[in-house]
């Protein structure tokens, strides 16, 4: 193992998350689900999808940070997660950029 890897190990050491946190996160997720369903029936125009996806992002972040222990993980794991999100957004963003700009100059 390299020094770096060993160093990473030291702050890793199997952080055991307390069940109270799990319970709180689980409750927050259920609350988020209820909230997003409730909000979806209110007409907010363009903000409906934005809010729905915003809540989804918050929920997903909670799952990633606590259930998946990323909050207590090494920098490498955090970087891996970010890299995945980055390339995912690149795929969607750059493809959509083509579709959106196709009509430019035509109206």
């Amino acid at each position: 193992m390299s020094e770096q890897a060993r160093h990473e190990n030291e702050n890793h050491e199997h952080h055991i998350v307390s069940p109270i946190i799990y319970l709180a996160v689980g409750a927050a997720l259920l609350f988020g689900t209820g909230l997003t369903v409730a909000v979806s029936y209110i007409d907010l125009g363009v903000f409906n999808p934005i809010i729905a996806l915003g809540i989804a992002v918050v929920k997903a972040t909670l799952v990633v940070l606590f259930f998946m222990h990323v909050k207590y993980s090494t920098k490498l794991t955090k970087l891996t997660v970010l890299a995945g999100i980055f390339v995912f957004l690149a795929l969607i963003g750059m493809t959509l950029a083509d579709y959106i700009s196709r009509a430019w100059g035509r109206w």
Binding site: M1, A5, R6, E8, N9, H12, H14, I16, V17, P19, Y22, L23, V25, G26, L29, L30, T33, G34, T36, V37, S40, Y41, I42, D43, L44, N48, P49, A52, L53, I55, A56, K59, A60, V63, V64, F66, F67, M68, H69, T74, L76, T77, T80, V81, A83, G84, I85, V87, F88, L91, I92, T95, L96, Y99
Partner: protein, 252 residues
């Protein structure tokens, strides 16, 4: 393996060098093995993100193009079942997280209980999904196989949905034809998700069997932990599928 203790004096002090049986020969320490498999699992989840990425892209583009069709087609989904399923899946994620916790504390009974609960909740999710799919079958909303646009050409023909969404106007025929695209993407995305659930449940069954034999409560939690990552990932996919497919057109 004694050679490594010279290099890893510091580590060796903390973890005396008797290798547990579950340590694979090419790793020096059990921490290295855990880190490695954990990292590998994360990389695998990255490929899964990109796998779903193609479907999300297709969904976003098609929804932009055929907005009215997607709005009315999504009204055909049952929010009640969808919400219930989200709750079921989130709860199963919670029980899975508790399972990992129990494994870490080497509590065999707790672990088995949590895994069984997760297993049951996973089956419940699939059960509800089956009910929903069956509903689609009854309503002729299986794209390519059993499909009818009548509910969109004439919303009144589907009184149940029409009652909840009285504002739904009949779609023009060309737009109604594109509702099939919505249902295709619905089945592709939820189907791919359900496939992941089925695989997960199969592995869970195997794990319950092994956990009862005490395989995961000896301090070696890698497998449980990595499976937990997978299960939570499948949960996250659903967290995004639920609003995208069910919710974002409810207000209309």
């Amino acid at each position: 393996m004694s050679d490594s203790s010279a290099v890893h004096g510091a580590v060796a002090e903390v973890h005396p060098h008797e290798h547990p049986s579950y340590q694979r020969h090419h790793f020096e320490t059990i921490e290295q093995q855990f880190d490695t498999t954990n990292f590998a699992m994360w990389l695998f989840l990255l490929t899964e993100i990109m796998f779903f990425g193609g479907l999300f892209t297709a969904y976003l583009i098609m929804r932009n193009w055929y907005y009215p069709a997607f709005v009315e087609a999504s009204h055909q989904l049952n929010v009640g079942w969808g919400t219930a399923n989200t709750a079921v899946l989130i709860t199963s994620s919670f029980t899975m997280a508790m399972g990992v916790w129990n494994a870490e504390l080497r509590r065999k009974g707790g672990l088995v209980l949590c895994l069984v609960l997760t297993f049951i909740l996973g089956l419940a999710f699939l059960g509800i999904k089956t009910i929903e799919y069956h509903e689609k079958w009854e309503k002729y909303h299986i794209p390519g196989i059993r499909y009818s646009e009548s509910a969109f050409l004439n919303p009144a023909s589907d009184p149940e949905v029409h009652k909840s969404y009285p504002d739904d106007k009949p779609l023009a025929p060309d737009m109604a034809a594109h509702t099939e695209m919505y249902f295709f993407l619905y089945f592709a995305m939820t189907g791919m998700h359900a496939l992941h659930m089925i695989i997960g449940i199969a592995i869970l069954g195997f794990m319950i069997f092994r956990a009862r034999a005490g395989a995961y409560t000896t301090g070696h939690v890698t497998f449980v932990e990595n499976f937990g990552l997978y299960w939570h990932f499948v949960d996250i996919i659903w967290i995004f599928l639920f609003p995208l497919l069910y919710l974002i057109s409810r207000h209309q």
